[in-house]
Symmetry: C2
Subunit: 424 residues, 2 copies
């Protein structure tokens, strides 16, 4: 009966898709934080596993997914592509709405796709501990789970606002053997600068990244893992869009509009980039909408320029849309979207008009989540609810214009661990 | 593109399975609480919708599922049948373990199967409000969701121990428009008796049922809904086993052992009864194991006799395994299993040796949940974790005896809303 020990599925991609292979013009390169010169990839080896750097800098169109990672994916992938028929009825729209539901992953969000890959790469190089930051805890819990799976310890600096609002994901991290600390905290110079001024400082992803990177730089047996922003992370998330493409094609369909929320950008890019490929290569006129919170509007309110990924200026300078590395976003519930910057690749595509950015306020987002919950029976994570809000606007526009378009969006996670936010 | 508005699946059953059609000897009938005489079904009309009573008393083998309920099921059913290959590896067992995963339902547990059916039946008879009780909140949140879907108000008496331990599900009920009250509370005579003595009384399902039934008896526009125990509820849950039977048969398999946890009994019966049918009719030697908590051992520690379903003695007398209607279970985390009685049908089958009952302590159950989480990536609800503990014991026994048996169990819900319990 060995055939049951492997669950294969032809929908599961065997390779990641690298959008850089299809860009005529490449984004500006990262710069060394000290010299301001283009970064030698070797300089990253103090921070990242070598295998990760190789993916980060690759221009190959398709990069193979290692067998061990594929086996781990096969426990929850392919994720369902769901037709939102009840939402359609509730909105009275002629649009056909599909969502790719990443909430079925063990940790309830898309973050596990890159967490497994990063933990695997670290395990191959004998890394003892992966250090990271987390906002709402989706990324931290995913990395803790992946670390346990591949035998790598995980230490997480969790943004204080989320640490206190969302005990559930903190407990999940601990259940997977992860070490969790409130950020900013007293154990790093980067954290101490804020912690001394205010031990209740709500924190930000930028500060937590600085704490994690500083920790790694002081400890050679540790490496750093980032849950979004970087090219390699967006690459790992391409499994979402690659699956969705096959799933839609199985019904003879292509999307007219692709929607995802953006914090660091990997959620949107994961679904969108495989479809952007067709826009870049075949000039298909698909619309791409990246949805961010009004409270942290890096694409719609930030500048496109070089900036650090962390608040302390330890990381390389990335050419991206940014609100400034000192920006402290208000403690909105979509903790995963509280980041001052935006993935350089998403920034690049937005600046060229290939991706349209919109920003929504928290009230509108929660109302959209309720509409979705009442019709489709899934309570979205507050991050994903931003995408839902944009979907509803697009579906209403389709009704006004009587257009039978196909809308595809990334329901990147469920909200079972965010109920306290919904209560407020 | 209308084909997308209905997602059909040949695995989805069109009928419920009624085990009473296959019992040579019927369980003893319910008795009137006042007279002690066998109950006239018409006497139940003050409490239940007529359509529900018809199902409760039917001896038909297969009862059709109404189209509107089927459409609601189709939003999350068929639920996956998963091969637990990683758990198998972790245990080093030759046994093949499959779980039917009901946690994919909108509310994260199997309870929605009967909630939708009961809310639909109430809506057909113009019921304004369904009143119920809930332990851990799985049932209450399922009924609130189902009520919103079919336009029936829902009022829930929630056992205080769970109300305080599990705010998440209380919030979910409110999001679906349900009214939630702590039980025992001051708004009913049944509740007041306990509330006066101790406003922090942890409560029990028996007390909460009494509060709900009393409320319904005082208000003709209300009807009562129960989440387990009754024959009709077990009937509705048969969709779980009917699907699993087809899913296993698709792989050329039958289970040697079927395992489910028992509180009121519907979780176990939902998976088990369609397979028990074959044992009853074709004399197949399948093993059936019902797992209960040591702290509330109605099957392994209770008597088989007539008893009330509630603490106040308002409900009909049911012939069942019971710890006595006055029994107040300790506030264990598996709130859904804190019930003094057991479904008459499960009691009947257990007393005839067709179902074997076992009881596990909380520590063993949580350890099993952690093993399952680390290997299969799903954190079980504390209730379902009881089944996991028994599965692990069976799988280890199979290893000792080197038997390649097929074990099937009901993973009736996920534990995302029970993380506080896991922390303790």
């Amino acid at each position: 009966m060995e055939r049951f020990s492997e669950r294969k599925n032809e929908l599961l991609p065997t390779h990641f898709y690298n959008i850089k292979a299809d860009l005529a013009e490449q984004p500006k390169p990262p710069l060394h934080p000290g010299t301001g010169e283009p970064l030698d990839p070797a300089a990253l080896e103090a921070i990242f596993p070598k295998g990760f750097i190789a993916q980060e800098t690759s221009r190959e169109r398709f990069l193979p997914i290692p067998a061990a990672v594929l086996a781990a994916y096969a426990q929850y992938r392919p994720t369902p592509l769901v037709y939102a028929g009840e939402l359609r009825k509730a909105l009275g729209t002629p649009a056909h709405i599909f969502y790719k539901y990443e909430g079925v992953s063990p940790m309830g969000s898309h973050k596990l796709n890159t967490a497994l890959m990063q933990a695997y790469l670290a395990s191959q190089e004998g890394v003892r501990e992966l250090v990271t930051e987390t906002g709402a805890g989706q990324w931290g819990s995913a990395l803790a789970y992946a670390g346990e799976r591949f035998g790598v310890g995980v230490r997480v600096f969790m943004v204080r606002a989320s640490f206190r609002q969302k005990p559930g994901r903190r407990i999940l991290m601990t259940l997977s053997g992860g070490r969790v600390e409130e950020s900013p905290g007293p154990n790093t110079e980067a954290g101490l600068a804020y912690y001394r001024r205010d031990p209740d400082h709500p924190g930000s992803l930028g500060i937590a990244i600085a704490e994690a990177v500083e920790t790694v730089m002081k400890n050679p047996a540790s490496k750093y893992a980032l849950g979004s922003v970087l090219d390699a992370v967006l690459l790992h998330q391409s499994v979402i869009g690659l699956e969705a493409e096959k799933q839609l094609a199985g019904q003879g369909l292509e999307p007219d509009t692709v929607i995802g929320c953006v914090g660091g950008g990997s959620n949107f890019a994961g679904l969108g980039f495989p479809f952007l490929r067709r826009r870049l290569r075949e000039k298909k006129m698909t619309n791409f909408i990246a949805v961010e919170p009004e409270a942290c509007p890096s694409l719609t309110g930030g500048d496109l320029r070089y900036d650090h990924g962390d608040s302390a200026g330890l990381t390389p300078l990335l050419y991206m849309h940014t609100l400034g590395k000192e920006f402290i976003p208000p403690p909105i519930h979509a903790g995963g979207l509280r980041y001052h910057g935006m993935a350089p690749l998403v920034s690049h595509l937005a600046s060229r008009g290939l991706v349209r950015a919109v920003a929504y306020g928290q009230d509108k987002v929660f109302a959209a989540a309720r509409t979705f919950f009442a019709s489709e029976g899934i309570l979205p994570a507050p991050e994903s609810a931003h995408a839902v809000a944009a979907v509803i606007d697009e579906a209403r526009r389709a009704r006004e214009e009587n257009r039978e378009q196909v809308i595809l969006f990334n329901l990147s996670g469920h909200g079972f661990l965010d109920l306290a936010a919904y209560e407020k």
